[in-house]
Each structure stands twice: as structure tokens, then as C-alpha cells.
Symmetry: D2
Subunit: 476 residues, 4 copies
């Protein structure tokens, strides 16, 4: 396991291929240092006794101590710990922990590479295990790249006017393949070590070139990380807060004829496993959501309660009902993750796979309620998050006293604390980070309708119709 | 363990004190035989290999084989099995299983009697264990009587103009106490062996007479069971179905100066434990709901899917979205029960207590959605459940052919099967049993607002405010 | 205009063709007298000064005073008055007024018969006007029969294995046509003078035999009214109440080779007008819903507030929020009807047609919320509606005093009044009439999805996309 | 009536008292020019034949042509036209029109000043009419300042530790009064000519100093406008769009011992009219919301439909259902405004007052659904609004082609148009303006719970309970 400084030093050496604000920058740019703070904390907190129980574990292949973010889940307990770790870290970041995607992708690969081999006698799983050893030993940060550009959504990959609408193999060589296409919505790709690319959907027999999965350094020739920042509004010194560390650079990742060597290819052409892999990654990621969404929800609950307290209305029925509503969403989603862990199963590879129905109902409930949670915070906070004067006015010798005087609420709470609480509400409700989390809350790990599809695809509908037929007295 | 016939023979001997349809009837009356069918099945199915795994267990006090309905939960596994048992039995009844209340009350008593003794050096727990031995050995059916008449709901028990608005002790004797009052909403009291009475709310120091809990045969002198039937519309022979076995007689139970001997008193005067006991029964009952509501939801899902199938619209987006919605409610509630079991704790008495937050968010979600589930069934079924001709018309030599001809839907489904499916929808949406289950779905085990209160009462609000303060940079 | 007695005398003479409870009965049967009470009141109240302003109007063809239920709307004012009349009458019945369907069907026919003539030079409108004169002069009660049996819902009328799945012409003669099929969900058909049959959906060119509309006496040879009753639970004398007058016999109406004379045919074969007529009837009926749903909602609101008042909790936040929710549904639906009236247009026939978008959003909102309103009543009422002892127990010399004692709530409200209020809640939440209204609330006048279809079919989607393009700076 | 240039010239002369970005600026600052674009358009569009019908009207006092934004509504027609004007202008701005508040405040003052005079024989209405003449003649832009700082929300104005928590009179002189306090959430105050201050809540007899209303130039000595900007992310030339003109500077407005001359005081000390005035302004403003929320909703609908179209999924059930949902919210809110206009009444001053119930249910429905509408746009748009590369990347010689290639969707839509549509979605979902409108959508014109209070305060609850009592057979 490495330190955050080692991580920063490592990525600083990478080829500059991040395009943002009209420039191309490297990983030593202040923007990257700022955006990667939460990732950095995943290294730092591993040594913090309050967190190490969750952040450290033992590799089932090397027996070495590793970060849980690089671990392949071996048991129910592993799944429960991962879910708790995610919640605890999101409690501390106030938003995303950003590092689960790579972990989820690795777990999905661990299952599918084995399944392909079992059917086709290939050696993907060995390749994967070698890569895993490297990944664990170096405590790598992986970015899962799944969502393709997709072009016309009513057409399949092979039917698109532009064949690059879905990432695909454009050339096969003895030592590897060349791929072209783009993967969208890659949070933290600009400060990941590796990009792990996976198919985004079920594929047909004739779509073999689209059934491609691999892992590759993020600065590989031909990769362009087109970035978009999301940070909280900057504050004058003295008014900063841990919440403002939250932020990211999203990437629109282009693969412009990128060569992937054989040892980094984990699926190539077995279309039925393309589908399996896409579903498995989504499944692991939805399980992560059953940890992170409650983690963020805890903060939403806490901030709502804090503002209500500061305003002197914490005990009103109206406030209490709203708090119960947030608590209910938070704990139902978490309960779904617990049930998914408890009702998990072991794959042939030995990897523990969480229950699909519970992961999906949990993620679905989270996604259906994320705008609702913001609505509640907005309702209780009142209009001030949108109109709160910023830190320059707070510190102004002319109007600063007014700002402090008129943001004061009940006795016993200082103007600064009141202002800080509102500033955080403002960052959530009216800032770039809050908005990015909201969109991620709806679409990350699968848009709400994807969960409906996943649920109905695996639910025992016939068994339940049978119950109804029995009760109705229908003999068939 | 006994057979359903032994149960029926036993209750047939009880004093007739059921007032219904303007008569007083005994437990050998056809109405009672009919209403107790589901209770009877809890004896019969214990011997059915498909169910015995759940229905049979071993007494932790006698080591004998007993019904799980008389068991005191000793482990996480016990709680999980009880939840599954409830779901499985509700799958088979299509509604309530009616026998969990007694079990939930016994479990609550097992905890609180010990806790009182630990504080006051009393012997309630011994009394309870003797009663438990008798209860298990005889495979008794218990009815939990909790909800008092309450009078003016804005007044406390001791403030009511009529002191009997809450059940209370009116006389104390050397060998026991005399109680007066009423308990409302006692499903299946008319065919229970025993009534287990518990306080309904938190009590103040001066309300000691209201802090009373006991178990007593349901035909004890002074008890009046004022009944109200809820059965499905009767059908002509040949059109009956298992679903029509579902039904009950609800009781408005009056205690008119009833003597309770000392050995049957499990709480008397310790007001703080009155509150604990009320909460614990509600908690166990809400845990039961996390099994039964999914069990009934499975049937709602199955019937909705079956009608959609018969109508030829099962694959439409509109239907699929509604099915996903039911599945999501069903499995989130079940997941909450699983998490409550997994995160349970052991009481000093050795009894396993499910986690309060998860039981409450599960029950709350069920209660918030029960009308919604009916709405979905109604939506997909169309108007026919309300206007379906009844069985006399179905069998009529004049118009029967018309009924069959015009209720036919897609090819491959007989008119009778179609009719049967709609008849069941009609029983649910337009019948007395369906309506009773709907009201129970909202209020049974606690009205929706009670779960809000329970959640906020135990939720770590301060811990979450601390998270918000940390993130906002507030030092206090 | 006639009296209710004249109406009863008139229908008493009709051929007995109502099949219910295993019998065939005539309109002089006590069941019909009971079921027709609300219809009777539409005659009686016309003479009541509190209602005559709405119930009486002047025929635009004869200049005579007529019932508004037989009127063809000529102006915005007419539409507003009809909406208000419906609300007022539903306030008084507590549920449906049952007579609007005939009125809505006549208005739809008034428009479409003219439109057919304008296109084809036919004489349907003259036929219609003659029929209208007869209808108005005799103050007839019409039942609109629209919903066909439909068979497999994924097939069109002409594709059904059984051609009778949709009502259609099976023979054409010089003096008329013979029809066969069935119309479902015909509330009050058993005590209507006339059945007005309309197509239920859009039709294709080759479905001319299904494009048939006519009006015919309800006892015409070949018509079978297969009935299903929905009444409140009967009460012992002294406990009856106006609410228990509400009730109906629903009809599953079979047309077994029924001859329709030419003068009673208003559409025959012009398939494009079949669609128009189906839509127009639905439109008028949805406008009626914007009056009746608020009317019933007023009663739901009033009863919820009354029970809260009796329980001493009327001023709690929880109650107030629920009341605001009902009020909001009620008044938004009513507002939609007002806007539909104000933004109405005149048809070539001179008939005023309400605005389609407003009628549809109003009806949709009502349908989406009807289960929600019951949920609120159930929530505030508590469990008692399901378990309230019935009138025989209330009047029992043995247990009657107990019932009264323990249903008492706050001081100042007699036990009887409290009991009466709960009895009404019980009829709504746990009775046949309440359930029938609930299903009608979802499906009457069109199931919720039908309103979505109607809205998107007429909404200016292109105009709104144009706004978005303009704002986005897209030039096309 | 004046031109937008005249307006800009006029405000350019005002004393610089806007504090934003750490500076104090005047109204000739580019920020103000930018923020006032929508206000400017209210002058420009008055001369546009497509808008002048709504924007121009005739003063009832001078007979001169005036802007409707300075008009006192005299009739149902006036209210309907104002509602339509607001919708049309919001269609064109894509968000707020910003100028209605002044109009709503003036209308409220027109009513209350007369009512005070009628009771107390004062001359407030004359003062008001003189001010109105000046306001209309100069085509002034007014900012309504209502919401006080409020301090501890559980305390009344007179109970606050800091008496300035609510704006109040601190000194009375012969020629006027001196006031101190702050008004929050004053959108557009920095580019308004006048600030119209009104009480924010009901007041008690002893709170006369808080019962103060006046109008005063926005640069009056002692007024500090502490600003906060909300603009869309700036775009490189060539990619700008009309939507990016939307934006504002919100003001936290401090009155630090501001002198108000007598002729500008419209309420002083009559506490019961403080309440009336607060309610009336809210009422007029909620009526405005019944125009603006549908206007913004039209744009949300259009953009959602446009993106669905571009993605090739416009006809899917999932999309259609979401569109129907937006359309339903839009038109119910608009219908509520229409009903409020149609059911309006005339005040003693001659001013037309919209119906309170309909304004409130309309505003409430809008406020309850604004987060829901964003959720729908987010759902249909997918994750791209959050991760869309910005214009510098779009125009980049290195990666610009990639951005265009991979944002392309269905054939027939250019990459630029697709990008533009997503850029607008990004501004709404992930930008400052979109977020500000969201908070305003919840709280502007009154937070959701304020509408509940307003509804229940005026709803005929007793009349509806009477209906329930009648139907239940309760005689009282």
C-alpha cells in the first residue's frame, strides 16, 4: 500500500493528455491536485485507526495487506464491509468517494474472465489474475469506462451510421488490438492510473468487435481526456471547509486508435459475455450505491437537521416529517445493500456476487429520491442558499458586518457558524458539485429505467403468477 | 404440537362470548370455523414438508419441537426464519396469516419481564417463563390486544373524562387485579385461545394503573368480543377458490371488570416499562410486517402480471413499469426486515431484538405504499373487478353464456380462468377482505406517523449533525 | 320536466330484463327503487330553490324549460353551470350523481352527427334533433354504453377471434340494423330509460361495422342487463343516513341481435367519426369529472376534518397537511374544469366543446389521486372504520352500551354522532359503494393512461420544441 | 413608456451601492448590463407586435398607454392578460421575467391603502395614487422587498434578541420615518429603480413599528445591495444562445437607518393591515406564478421533447409518460390561474383581487413539482449535461472534432445543434441560473407550507364538515 504522496508522484509522471479550460494539462497541475483530494484521502485514511478496519484487507492471491479498493470480494462479510466503507467515506467527503468504480470493474472482470475460460478454454482469467496482482501491489486507482457515445439510441451498435458510436476493435494484431470510440461520464479519469473499459450493453452475435474489455494506463497514446470541472465556489481564506474539498474533473474519454496489448485484454469477441460483464459491473456498482447514497444521505439529513436547529424549528412537525422521509430513504437503500450482501452467491471464480434484485431495488429507490432529498433540504433551508452573499462580501469591511448581523438565527449560534452551514447548503443546492452529484444520483450506475429492466429481467414473475393462479383456483 | 382439529375442538369448548350479527355465538359456530381457516392452516402446514422447515422449531426452554408461532427468537437466524415463514404463509393465504401477533407479544414480554426484574427484583420473568412453557406445550393461539379506545386523543390516559378510555386496573386483590376498558382492532380474537393485553403508549409516573400487561383465556368472565366479519363475497359451488378462505372476524374487545390472577400478570405499575413493552411489541410486529407485506405483495404482483398476461398486455412498457414498482416496494420492505435481523441485538433475557430503524423504515414504506399497490392492480385490471357479474349470473342458464363469452380475453385462456382471475381481483379491490387488509396495511403494527416517531426517536440525529458540522468547518 | 314518481312509474312498465342475484327482475323491484334514489333526486331537486338554478334551463330547440341533464351546452356559461351542478349534486349524494353520462353522450352526438352530415350530406343531425326533442320533452334518463368487451387487447376490433368482442352491425335491413356485442361497466343501465351506445375507440377503414352509434330503450328485445349491486352495508332502523342512499347496480350489458330502427341510428360506417365520437364523449365525460370529483372530494375533506375534530386532533400539523393535500387535489381538478369551460370552442352544430387539454389534465389529476384521498381518510380515521361494530351490535341490549362507551371521543360529541361519522367512513373505506367509486375514480371517463394519450395527442409539442430551439440558439 | 436604453441611462445615474465580487459597483457596470437583459426586454418587446397586446394597456388613472407591469388590474380580463403575458415572456426568457414583483406589490398596495383609509380615515390611498401616477408615467421598475432576516424563527418580531431581525421604524419625524433591518432574496434589486418594502407576516398589536410599507429609490442613502450573481457558464463566441441572457444578481438588501419621507409611506402602524398587505402581495405573486411556472414548464417540456427527439427516443412510452407528466403540471398550474382570475373579486379600491384558493393550489402544485420537473429533464437527457465539454473544448483544434463526433445522435441533426441542446440542458441542470430558478421555484412567492397555511386559512372547512354531517345523518 502506498501513500497519497506516492500516488501524486506517480501520476505526475504521466503524459499530459487532459484537455480542460482550453489547455492540455498534466497530473501535476493544481487543478488535478485539487480534484484528486478525495482520492488522496483513500490512501491517507487507510492509516487512520478510525478507518483502517474498512480500508485495509488481505489479498486472497498474495496474502499481502492491500487496500479494499483493490480487493476481490470473497465472502458475505467482504460485501458488507465494502458497503460500510463506502458509507463511512462518503460521510467524510460529503459526496462521492470516486474510487469504487475501479474496484467494481475489477470484481466484475474477476467473475467473467473465469466464466469465459470455462466455456471457451481461453486464458482470460490468468491474464486478469496477473493484472490483479500488479493492481494490488501498486495500490492502483482504476477508472471504469463503460458508457459509450451511443449515437442514435434507437439503433444497435452495429447499425449506427458512425461505427465508432460504440467503442470497438478496428484492427487485430498478433500482440494486441487497436480500438476506437469514446466513453462518456468518466468521473476521475484524469487522475486515475488506469482506465478499465467495459461494454455498455447486451450485444448480438454479429457485434463481436464491440465485445471488448481491457485495462490500460490513462495516458496511453491515443487517449484524450476531455475534462469538465465541478468544484464548489471558491471561498476566501478563513472560510474554507472540508466540504469544499469535494469536486472532480469529469472526462469525455476518447480512444483514437489505441493499441491494447494482449495481456491487458479481458474479453474479445464473446458477445454473450459482453452482456454479462456489462450487467456485472452495473451490479457491483449498484451495490456500491447502496453504500454511498446512504453516506451522502446522512450528510443531507445532518445538514437539514442542523439548519432546522439553527433556525429554531427542529422540533416542528413539518421538519420532523421531512427528516423521517430522508432517514427512510437512506436506511431502505442501505438495507437493500445489506440484503444483497446476505443473499449473495459465489461465482466459479470464487468472487462473491451480490444479489441482483436487492442491489437494483436499492439503487432504484436512491435514484428515484435524489431530487426529492434536495427538495427537502431546499424546503427546510429556505431561500438563503441561493442568495447568500459570498465570502468576499462576508469579509468586506463595508458590508461584512451586515452579512453577519442578518444571517444570525437563534441565540447560541455564532454568525460564522450559521453562515458556514448556509454556505454548505449553497454549495449543494446552488453549486457545481451539488449539481454534478444530483445528475450522478440519477444516472450513475444506471439510470432509473435500467433498474426496472434489471429487476424484471431476473424477478420470478412466473412464480408469482403461479401463486395468483393457485389462490384464484386456476388449474393449468 | 397439535392438529387443526385439536385446536378447533379446544376452542369449541370455550364460553360463547362473541357478539356478531345481533347474536352471541360460540367457537363451534360456522362463522368461526370459516374465519379461522388460515389459523387452522398454521397447524396443518407444520406437517407439510414444504413448510415444516419454517413452521417447526425447538423450544429453548423445553427442548421440545414447537411451532415457531410460539417460539422466543434466540438468534439472527430465528429472526430471518420467522420473516421468511411469514412471507411464505402470506403467499399461500393471499393476505394475513393472523397468528403472528401472539408470537410478537410473547417475544416482547420475554424481554420486558426480564428487564423489570433486573431493575426492581420482581419475578415477572419467572411467571412469564411458566406461562411460555404452557403456551408452547399446548400450541396456543394468542391474540395481542394493544390499541385502547383512547377517547380524546389530545388527552393523556389519566386526563380522560372517562377513565376507562384506556384499559386499567380498577381493583387490586391479593390474588390478582381487576381491569376495565376496551381494546380495539383485535383481528382473530374470536378464535384465539388467549388474549395478551399490552399497554398502547408511553405512560407517565402517575399512570401506574394503565401500566398493565397480562394474558388470559379469551372467554374469561367479563370479556365481550364484539365482532365484525370480513369475508369475500360468497360464490356458488364450483367457483370457489383458495383465496376465498381468507377472511376474519375483527373484535372490539371489552374488558368489563375482568379478574386477572397474579400468575398471568406480566407488568403492573412500572410505567417506564409500559412504554418499553408497547414499543417492543410494535417493533416485533413491524418486523413481522417486513415478512407479511412482501408476502401479500408477491400475490398482488402475481395477479397484476396474470391479468396483464390474460389481456395480452404483459409486455407493454406501461405494465412493466407498474410491475417494477410493486417489485421494488416488496423487496425494499423485505430487505429492511433482513437488515433488521442481521443488525439485531440480544436482550438480557436472551431474546433477539430486531433493529428498530430497519423495522420501522420497512413498515413505513409498506404502509405508505399499500393504497398505491391497490391502485396499480386497479389500473392494470381495468374496471371489470367492480362490475364483474357474480357467480349466480356466471352459472345462469339464461345469461351465463354471455358472461363467459364477454369476459374472454386472449386465445389460450379459458373463460373460466379469466373469470376466476377477475373474481380474485374483485375480492381484493371491491370486497370486504381486500378492504380490511388495506386498512390493516396502513394501521396494523402502527400507523405511518408512528413509524416517523419511532425512527426519529432512535435515529442518530446528533451524529449526523456532527458530520454536517465537520464538513461545513464548524467548530463547537 | 317530470317528477321522480313519474320517472318510477315509467320505468316500472318496462320489460323485465335485469339479471341479478340469480333472478330476472323488473324496474318495480325494491332493488331498483333503492339503487335509483340518486337518479330520483335529480328530478326532486329541480324543484328545490337551492338547486333549481343549476338543474333547470331552457331548451335551445324548443324554448321550453328542461332539465340540464337533457341540455345541449350552448355557451361557456352552460359548461360552467353544468360543472357546478355536478359538484353540488355530488356534495349531496356523497358520490356519483349517475345521470351525467347520458347528458355527455347526447352532447357528443350533437356535435358528431352534424360533422358527418357536413362531410357526407347525410341526415344524422336531423335524426338526432328529433330524438333530442323527445329526450328533452320526456325528461329521459340516458345511459351511455361505451366500453366494449374488447377480447384480446393487443388486437384491433376486426382482428379478434370472436367478432363480437366489439359491438357491431351483423345485419342491415331497409328499416334499420341488427347489432351484437356487449358493453361493460354501465352504471345505472338497469334504471335508465334509454341506452345510448357509442364506439369505444379509433377505427380503421375496414372496421365500418364497428362504427355504430344509436339510442334505444333499455328493455328492447335482445338486451340483457347483467347486474351487480353495490350498496352500503344495511343498517338497523334509526341509524340510517343520507349517505346510505348512495349505491348502484352496475350492468354488463349484452346486445344479442338487437334491432335498431333507422331513426335511432346516429353513426353507421363512417369510421373516422367513430373515433371523433368516442373522443368527444370521453371529453364531455372528463369535463363532468372536473365537477364530480371535486364534489366527492369536498365530502372526503369534510369527513376527514370531522373525524379529526371528533378525535381532538384537527389542529395538528399532520392533519392540516393532509387536509391541504385533499383541498389541493379538489380545487386543481375543479380549476381545470373552469379553464376547460373558459377556453372552450363552438362546434358547427352550435354545441360548446370544452378544451381538451384542461379536461384531460383535470381528469388525470383526479384519477391519479383517488386512492391517495382514500389513503388520507384512512390515515386520519385510524383503524376503526374496518373494525367498527355494526348497527345490530350498536343496538344490542347486551353490548350496545359498550359500543357507545368506547367509540366516544372528545367531550361535546355524542357517542351516536361519533358512531355515525365512523360508520360513514366505514362505508367509504370498507364498503361496496366506496370501493365501486374508487374503481370508477380510476377508470370512469377513461383510465389514467388514456388521459396521457389524449394530452400528447393534442398538445403543441412542436411549438414547445420550437421555444427550446430558439433559446438554445438552434436554427433549423 | 420608455425604451430599454432610457431605462439603462436612468439607472446608470444612480448612486453606486451594489456590493458584489468584493467591489462596490454602479448600474453602468457590465455585470448590471448583463443581469438586466430580461428586464430590458420588457421595454423592447412592448413595441413588438407579437407581444404588445399583452405588454401595453391603458392606465385607469391617466388614460395613458402604459406598461402592464405598472398597471393596477381592473377586471377579470386584466388578470387573464397578466397571466398570459407572464407565460409568454417566460417562454421567451426560459426562466423568470423578473419584473412582476413590482407590479404585484403595487396591486397589493392599491387595495390595502384604500382599506386602511376606510377604517381609519387616513390618506394612504391618495399618497399611493400619486406615487402610482409617477410610477406609470416613468415606466418604473419596482423590486418588492418582503422577506425579513427573521432571526430565530420560533420567535415573533417583537421577541427577537436583535430587534432589527425584522425591518422596523426606529425613529419618527415630522416629515417621515427612519427604518432599519434587512430584506433578503431580492432578485433584481440592483437594477430596479425603486424598492417597495412590505411586511412579511401577520403582526400583533404591539408590533406596530414592524407594520411599515413604503417605496423608495434603490440608491437611497443607507441602502446596501449585497449582491450574488447567477449566470450561465460563459461560452466562447459563436456558441452563445438566447438562453444565456437569463441570469440575475440577487440582493441581500440592508436598510441601515434609511429615511422614508411621508409621501412614500403606505402603511405605518396599523398592524392588522400589515398582515393583509403581506397576504395580498403573496396572493398577487402566486397569481403571477400561475403564469410564469407554466411558461418555464413549456420550455422544460420543449427541451425534454427535443432531446428525446435528437436521441431517437421521442416515441417511447417511457418518454411519453414523462412528457405527459410535465404537461399536466404546466396546465394544472395555468388552469388554477385562470380559475383564480375568473373567480376574482373587486376590492373597494376597484382593484381586481384573484381568488385566493386557486392561486394557492396553483402555486403549491408548481412548488411541489419543480424538483420533479428537473428530475424528468435529467432522466431523459442522460448524464451528458453534467459532463458535456465546454465551448473551449468544442472549439479546440485538437479535441473539438472529437467533441462533435461523439455528441452526435441521430442522423439529420447536426453536431452543433445537438451540442447546443445539451448545453442548454447543462445550464439548467448544472448551472447557476438553473439552480437559482429551482430554489425560487420552491420558495418564490411563498414556500410550499405557506400555501398550505393560506389554503386552510380561507377554505370553507366548516361548510365541508357540514356536508359530511348531513350525509352521516348527524344532527347538531
Amino acid at each position: 500500500m502506498i501513500t497519497s504522496q506516492q500516488y501524486l508522484d506517480r501520476i505526475a509522471k504521466m503524459r499530459p493528455n487532459i484537455y480542460v479550460d482550453g489547455e492540455v494539462i498534466g497530473r501535476d497541475h493544481p487543478l488535478v491536485l485539487k480534484a484528486s483530494q478525495i482520492i488522496q484521502s483513500t490512501f491517507d485514511l487507510a492509516e487512520d485507526p478510525e478507518y483502517s478496519k474498512w480500508l485495509k484487507t488481505t489479498s486472497h492471491i498474495s496474502g499481502q495487506e492491500i487496500s479494499r479498493f483493490t480487493h476481490i470480494h470473497q465472502s458475505v462479510e467482504d460485501l458488507l464491509l465494502k458497503q460500510e466503507m463506502t458509507r463511512k467515506l462518503c460521510n467524510r467527503s460529503g459526496g462521492c468517494v470516486y474510487r469504487c468504480m475501479g474496484c467494481d470493474a475489477m470484481n466484475a472482470l474477476s467473475v467473467t474472465t473465469k466464466n469465459i475460460d470455462l466455456k471457451y478454454g481461453t486464458d482470460y482469467h490468468d491474464r486478469f489474475l496477473k493484472y490483479l496482482a500488479y493492481f494490488q501491489e501498486n495500490d492502483l486507482v482504476g477508472c471504469a469506462a463503460q458508457t459509450d457515445a451511443k449515437g442514435n439510441r434507437s439503433l444497435r451498435p452495429a447499425e449506427q451510421p458512425d461505427p465508432d458510436a460504440y467503442l470497438h476493435v478496428v484492427e487485430r494484431r498478433a500482440d494486441g488490438v487497436v480500438v476506437r470510440g469514446a466513453k462518456l461520464h468518466n468521473t476521475m479519469a484524469p487522475y486515475a492510473d488506469e482506465i478499465i473499459a467495459l461494454p455498455t450493453r447486451a450485444l448480438k452475435k454479429n457485434e463481436g468487435d464491440y465485445a471488448i474489455a481491457f485495462a490500460i494506463p490513462a495516458d496511453t497514446e491515443g487517449i484524450y481526456l476531455i475534462g469538465r470541472k465541478a468544484f464548489s465556489q471558491s471561498r476566501e481564506e478563513g472560510l474554507e471547509a472540508p466540504y469544499t474539498k469535494l469536486g472532480s474533473i469529469e472526462s469525455f474519454t476518447v480512444f483514437d486508435n489505441v493499441f491494447i496489448p494482449n495481456e491487458r485484454i479481458f474479453l474479445d469477441g464473446q458477445t454473450e459475455f459482453g452482456s454479462e460483464l456489462a450487467m456485472l459491473f452495473a451490479l457491483y456498482h449498484r451495490h456500491s450505491y447502496c453504500g454511498c447514497k446512504p453516506g451522502v444521505g446522512d450528510v443531507m439529513y445532518g445538514l437539514t437537521a442542523l439548519l432546522a436547529d439553527y433556525n429554531g424549528v427542529e422540533k416542528t412537525s413539518h421538519t420532523r416529517e421531512k427528516l423521517a422521509e430522508i432517514a427512510s430513504v437512506v436506511e431502505l437503500v442501505f438495507a437493500a445493500g445489506v440484503a444483497a450482501s446476505v443473499k449473495s452467491r459465489k461465482a466459479p471464480s470464487g468472487t462473491q456476487i451480490p444479489n441482483s434484485i436487492y442491489c437494483n431495488v436499492g439503487r432504484r429507490h436512491a435514484g428515484h429520491n435524489v431530487y426529492h432529498e434536495y427538495d427537502i433540504l431546499c424546503d427546510i433551508a429556505g431561500g438563503l442558499p441561493a442568495t447568500l452573499p459570498l465570502s468576499k462580501e462576508y469579509n468586506s469591511p463595508v458590508v461584512g458586518d451586515f452579512v453577519r448581523k442578518y444571517t444570525k438565527r437563534r441565540e447560541g449560534v455564532s454568525a460564522e457558524n450559521q453562515y458556514r452551514a448556509y454556505n454548505m447548503a449553497s454549495d449543494i443546492l446552488n453549486g457545481d458539485v451539488g449539481a454534478a452529484l444530483l445528475v450522478a444520483g440519477v444516472h450513475g450506475g444506471g439510470s432509473p429505467i435500467m433498474e426496472d429492466i434489471a429487476i424484471l429481467g431476473t424477478y420470478d414473475t412466473e412464480g408469482k403468477k403461479k401463486l395468483a393462479r393457485y389462490l384464484a383456483g386456476i388449474k393449468e
